[in-house]
């Protein structure tokens, strides 16, 4: 097949604008596909990494509703709960709107009990626990902004304003955590440090969710029911579920990502099928005489159809590879921007496998009719028309 390469490339160069536009369309299709799969992967990976022995409590209405911090201590008293950690999203911005960080206020001691997979060097741990104005960060976020231990970092909030004015809190970076769950883009600080500077009814003494560690994962339904029963008929009723369900619920706020990916990808690839199929059909129609000449020279139906199929594959493979490559680059750069929402983000390796299958499928389907046309072409008819 290698000896036919000059023929393939010469044919691709025959109509460079048409070939380039077709490849560009395929690039866009695979780029979109790669990004959607990245989004889907980011959401499902976070859910996959959720601890089986953790439950999350949020406001019954929605995750953006807050509820009192006093709930934490009441939950700690529920049978089967080992520890409960409060969380508040800061909506953190570092220096520029584009630099969004996944900054969460919590109770450090409780946090480390609920999430033992987050590890800190002893001196860093001691520093974080003792300094209310301190924070810890994942390796990638620290590297991204060039932060070093000891640096004081101003973090602006998109949600909160200080009672005395201003929306920026300075926090000292005292530790870089290591974790086994893939999250190396988050930032955790003392919730109380931000809370004490807020005005009443401006986010003070309220939190967004609580994550609790339970003694026995099998008791999850019972503990969830007991927690929600505590706050039944209160102004802020709660909804408690496993951490996985909680993260999945968070994902579902955006929509059923799996269905969106499938629907968009199907529409895009169907369109691509038409575009590539049309290009190949046009290309074969323009070359009727040349195909007849090849057949005259002894090229069999199979070889001629194979040439059309391979040409279609080359176009699709080049477009697909560039598209997926761009998606990987985009995932990396978008990952930094979306770190606030998706600490674990990157193009899943399965995307390349699915992408390769799609490349083969698309090229075969797009070339099916033109190949059949080349297969059936009668030499004498084609040469007579030329």
């Amino acid at each position: 097949m290698l000896k036919f390469l000059p023929l393939f490339f010469a044919n691709l160069r025959r109509k460079p604008v048409r070939t380039s536009l077709t490849i560009a369309s395929i690039v866009v299709a695979f780029l979109l596909f790669g990004l959607l799969k990245t989004m889907e992967g980011a959401l499902s990976l976070a859910a996959d990494l959720a601890g089986v022995d953790r439950l999350a409590t949020m406001h019954k209405v929605s995750m953006i509703q807050t509820f009192p911090i006093s709930y934490v201590n009441r939950i700690r008293g529920v049978d089967g709960v080992v520890e409960a950690a409060p969380f508040t999203w800061l909506g953190g911005i570092y220096q520029d709107e584009r630099n969004q960080v996944a900054a969460q206020g919590t109770d450090p001691e409780a946090f480390l009990k609920v999430y033992p997979e987050y590890k800190l060097a002893p001196e860093q741990l001691a520093a974080w626990l003792s300094d209310r104005g301190s924070m810890i960060a994942g390796r990638s976020v620290a590297n991204r902004f060039g932060w070093k231990i000891g640096d004081t970092v101003p973090l602006r909030s998109s949600f909160f304003r200080k009672a005395g004015g201003g929306d920026t809190w300075e926090m000292r970076l005292v530790g870089i955590y290591e974790t086994t769950n893939g999250d190396n883009a988050s930032l955790f600080f003392h919730r109380e440090y931000v809370n004490e500077s807020l005005a009443q009814n401006q986010g003070r003494d309220v939190i967004m969710f609580i994550v609790m560690k339970i003694a026995n994962p099998d008791d999850a339904p019972k503990v969830s029911a007991a927690v929600d029963a505590l706050f039944a008929n209160s102004p802020a009723e709660t909804k408690t579920a496993t951490e996985r369900a909680f993260i999945q619920g968070y994902a579902n706020m955006i929509g059923d990502i799996g269905a969106i990916v499938t629907a968009v990808a199907t529409a895009v690839f169907f369109t691509m099928l038409l575009v590539t199929g049309n290009t190949m059909a046009q290309s074969v129609r323009e070359r009727t005489n040349e195909i007849a000449v090849l057949k005259t020279l002894g090229y069999s139906k199979r070889v001629v159809a194979g040439l059309v199929l391979t040409e279609s594959f080359l176009i699709t493979a080049v477009g697909g590879a560039i598209g997926l490559g761009l998606a990987a680059l985009a995932a990396e750069s978008v990952g930094a921007t979306l770190a606030q929402f998706f600490p674990v983000i990157g193009i899943p390796s399965s995307t390349y496998v699915v992408g390769a299958v799609l490349i083969v499928l698309l090229s075969v389907l797009a070339a099916a009719l033109p190949s059949a046309e080349a297969w059936r072409l009668r030499i004498t008819d084609a040469l007579r028309k030329a």
Binding site: K3, P6, A10, V293, S300, V303, I379, T380, L383
Partner: protein
Amino acid sequence: MSEKKVLVRVRGLAKDYKRGAETVHVLHKLDLDIQAGDFLALMGPSGSGKSTLLNLIGGLDRPSSGEIEVGGQRIDSLSDGALGRWRANHVGFIFQMYNLLPVLSAERNVELPLLLTALSRSERRKRVEAALTLVGLADRAKHKPRELSGGQEQRVGIARAIVSDPTLLLCDEPTGDLDRKSGDEVLNLLQALNERHGKTIIMVTHDPHAAARASHTLHLTKGQLSREPEAA
């Protein structure tokens, strides 16, 4: 005069076409023997069936009835695949409109028949170079067809036809699109291939000047052959 072997034997050859409800009889029970090493010119008015006969002898089309034997092999009963392989090994085609692939250089065009063989790249290159040298276009190897004159394009077409060293060359009005000077060059080349390299050539032409270069001329009228005296 030495006894020559019959290379092409045609017996009772008929070819009919359907045109709507009507059947057009192009060739009628035609018999023909062509000796190995002959240079035969096939003349006749348009629609007389010259190209059809050429296509049938070259295995590009199937007869409605009758037999065609080339080099002792019945080609009318070969499968499509076997007929393709037979063409690749035994026949070189030269067309009126040259039919070169415009996207390929002269050498790549000439190489096309060899891509079907098991020859190595270097062996293919040697053969392509030899064929282009034979037609006097070694210095134009890298040129695309649009960068060549009509006569040069036809010579590339001839190089492509002979590169796999076929026994039979079939030419369908090879000078029909050329001026007299270029046409003469092409005819000189065909004559040389016939006389010096022993190629058997069947040439369809309207041009008596071209037919005069052949060793024999046959006239085809309404699907029937009539033999003319040997050309001078």
